[in-house]
Subunit: 477 residues, 2 copies
């Protein structure tokens, strides 16, 4: 503890239980652990000092950005240190000529677009973008509504300065897009805090499209809307975003955003085109026609920026608004091949009926990235367990349809038990080889991502034993 | 040797010196080494058997595709086995609904586009695309003329089945774009054969653009053409390709492709727009206007597909055509920030004058990816050495301008000495951690990429000594 205080100043090391309670969960509230200590370094040098102190004392650590993650990736460890990066929030450089921004990990996602606007913007846009940090986006390879066209965080990270678990500092990648050597910045993105801490991040930003047009088309059922999605994509249209909301989500969002969407529609499809004005004008007519042919009961076109904002508020409010129609909910995140949308949605309906629970569906339809929201009342005995079980069945149904256990929220603690459903033993062993190469002592976010705690047994050194097994080590710091 | 024959059949194991001579170099003819044996497996299972046999006997190996690489990445090892993958040339699956192709590593680059055309195509297009293999493209993270808009190989590889140096087989990634777990398929792309052998590759293909239009604009100097490039990009135009050729390259290519381009132009800028017809028509006029304002002496627009082909033949002939104006040449490959094109081109001119050699410049101007061709006559004593030295000075000039030692040809043997100019010790150590995690014995393409032979000393096991130091081991196979 003394080492942490020396590194960051006494006032930036929290050890009081009530202060630590603020950090016991990330956005996945179903899990909570109070850490031994939380430390808030104020510079990359202080991060290095903290990581070195942890290494020296064999204490595991977890890095945390804004704590808005949805897979428990920033869940603390009881005997460990939580390294909170929210004080590292400087935008270091804006280089529009080369379409690059260099920033610290605690900068919020939305602050990047603000710093490069109005001429440029940063495409990956999680719904939590007002609060979520770029460092967290890097850890989870975050997506968002615009990823169908623009790609995920990994497509925008060019370079990283990282503090590795051994306390060394490496520069991975740089301002250029494709450097020689191994693509370690690529592997670092999405590594969920298990390979080190990014202290400086170089991002690519792109020119703001000349024109943006947004419509919402209403359908009788999500399956019908899913068909429209397939036809839009098959026609070669690449929308900036294609988002779907089902009846339950629309109901919830209306209570917060009040768009006045038709109360009899079974699904709403929000489609946005962006690009050169000449292209958009022509493509937009085509898009409206496809929706009509696919059976849309009504197509509303946003007439101005204000109406576009209302459309997007409906979509982005869906998670928080769910609280208005259900005391608790569990956000699921999985991916299916776009071509199997209708079939999987029906399967989810059937599973929900069997469990006697309601499931709202909001999703990035272009990517086939579902976000089923399992509604439950935690005050009713057994209902939380039933909800978790249902969420698990939904994940497995997606995997069986050729999909993935997570689209953009990460594995964290929440999904690690499903990893063997997606990966064979040699594939998991390959992951483990990488992890042990960078963290032989198992100090960086242990207990996350991998299905069972594994030791880097083959690798010798002073940290052979798993630190979680070494009782009381934290006391000695 | 017996193990190899058992694995692949006697006729697929070459040991005769004259047969092995065919494999002594890849496309970088300045280096040549005859391997102990070359083996041509006919299936993934045979690749596994070969890698396991090499592991068992501690024999190093090098994987080779078509041998068209330009950094000596597939240069054999005298005491090692060359694993030639050209028999693995099946396209396993074409799934246009999900925009995916699954193929073996020996399939040529151009065969992918042929298999998915005319509705789709595979964007990364090295000039050698008629012969180069997808496996080689994966190893080198190959680029091409269309990478400015479309990105490199790494942006199109979704999944890999790989044989790791320990003989295990892992599935990295898959058909979906963003899977949970570490992005190992991302790190495998561009790893230059040092992490294993890809035996099955899942690629993303994209819809063929509705419309393509191509022009060539002539300028007094490459610097002036470079200015036009900056202005095109600054205007928000994203061409499918922006390629530049200087006077010497035009002269060479005219002898092969005979386009009849003006004989007094100092530089030709080949610009291609692709996309929706409505967009292209409007953008093309804008593009022509930008070239005129930037001082172009003439703009020629390809009137039809035949003329477009002539334009592209001029560009793609530049390397082979160089043989018509110089007995030998050395292809350099480096990257500079686009904004510093003019300055670096002048520096290259000055360096060439000092060395008394001619340097032709052909390059992917949008990416700032230069391909200076250093011309020399190997029959004149000392000239080959002077050419190599000049090539080295050009690389360093690019690094000093904030660039990179390689854009798309890889490090191989040719550039490894420059790695410390780009990377600090902790960065190289991070690379080495990864390499040792997957190849602790140092059997997979040793002596490539990293600046000095390093041993995975910290890792114990039967392969502690570097195999190149273990004389005669190959004899025992």
């Amino acid at each position: 503890m003394k080492a942490l205080q020396t590194a960051c100043g006494e006032q930036h090391v929290l050890t009081a239980h009530h202060a630590l309670r603020a950090y016991e969960s990330d956005g996945l509230l179903q899990y909570a652990v109070v850490p031994r200590a939380a430390v808030l370094p104020g510079s990359a040098e202080e991060v290095v000092a903290v990581v070195r102190a942890c290494r020296e004392h064999g204490v595991p650590w977890v890095a945390r950005g804004s704590g808005s993650g949805l897979s428990g990736g920033a869940l603390p460890i009881a005997e460990g240190v939580l390294i909170v990066l929210s004080r590292l929030r400087r935008i270091v450089e804006v280089d529009l000529a080369n379409q690059r921004v260099v920033c610290e990990p605690g900068v919020t996602n939305v602050a990047i677009s603000a710093a490069v606007g109005p001429t440029h913007f940063y495409p990956p846009d999680p719904s939590s973008q007002i609060v979520c940090s770029i460092g967290g986006n890097v850890a989870e390879n975050s997506g968002g509504a615009h990823c169908f066209k623009y790609g995920f965080t990994t497509n925008y990270v060019c370079g990283l300065e990282v503090v590795l678990p051994d306390g060394s500092v490496a520069q991975l990648g740089g301002k250029e897009a494709d450097l020689p050597g191994y693509d370690l910045h690529g592997v670092f993105v999405g590594s969920e805090g298990t390979l080190g801490i990014a202290t400086r991040i170089t991002l690519r930003v792109v020119p703001t499209p000349e024109s943006v047009r947004t419509l919402v088309a209403f359908f009788a059922t999500p399956a019908q809307a899913g068909l429209a999605v397939s036809e839009i994509v098959a026609a070669g249209v690449v929308p900036g975003a294609i988002e779907m909301m089902d009846r339950l989500s629309i109901d919830a969002s209306e209570q917060m955003a009040g768009a006045g969407w038709p109360s009899d529609a079974g699904a709403a499809l929000l489609v946005e085109l962006d690009g050169p004005a000449a292209e958009i004008a022509e493509r937009f007519d085509e898009l409206s026609a496809i929706c009509a042919v696919a059976g849309s009961s009504e197509v509303r076109v946003a007439r101005d920026a204000a109406e576009r904002d209302v459309f997007w508020r409906m979509r982005k409010a869906a998670f928080p608004a769910m609280g208005r129609i259900s005391p608790h909910y569990y956000v699921q995140d999985s991916v299916i091949p776009r071509t199997r949308l209708a079939e999987v949605l029906e399967r989810i309906d059937a599973l929900a009926r069997d469990a006697g629970l309601r499931v709202a569906n909001v999703f990035h339809a272009g990517d086939g990235n579902l976000h089923p929201l399992v509604c439950y009342d935690g005050h009713v005995p057994g209902e939380a367990e039933r909800a978790e079980e249902l969420a698990g069945e939904i994940v497995l149904a997606c995997v069986r349809a050729g999909g993935s256990i997570t689209g953009e929220h990460g594995v964290g603690v929440d999904k690690k038990r499903y990893m063997p459903r997606m990966f064979g033993e040699p594939d998991l062993a390959a992951f483990q080889k990488l992890r042990c190469a960078f963290d032989p002592a198992g100090l960086a976010n242990p207990g996350k991502v991998m299905p069972a705690p594994r030791l880097c047994g083959e690798v010798p050194g002073p940290y052979r034993r798993h630190p979680l097994e070494q009782a009381g080590l934290a006391e000695r710091m």
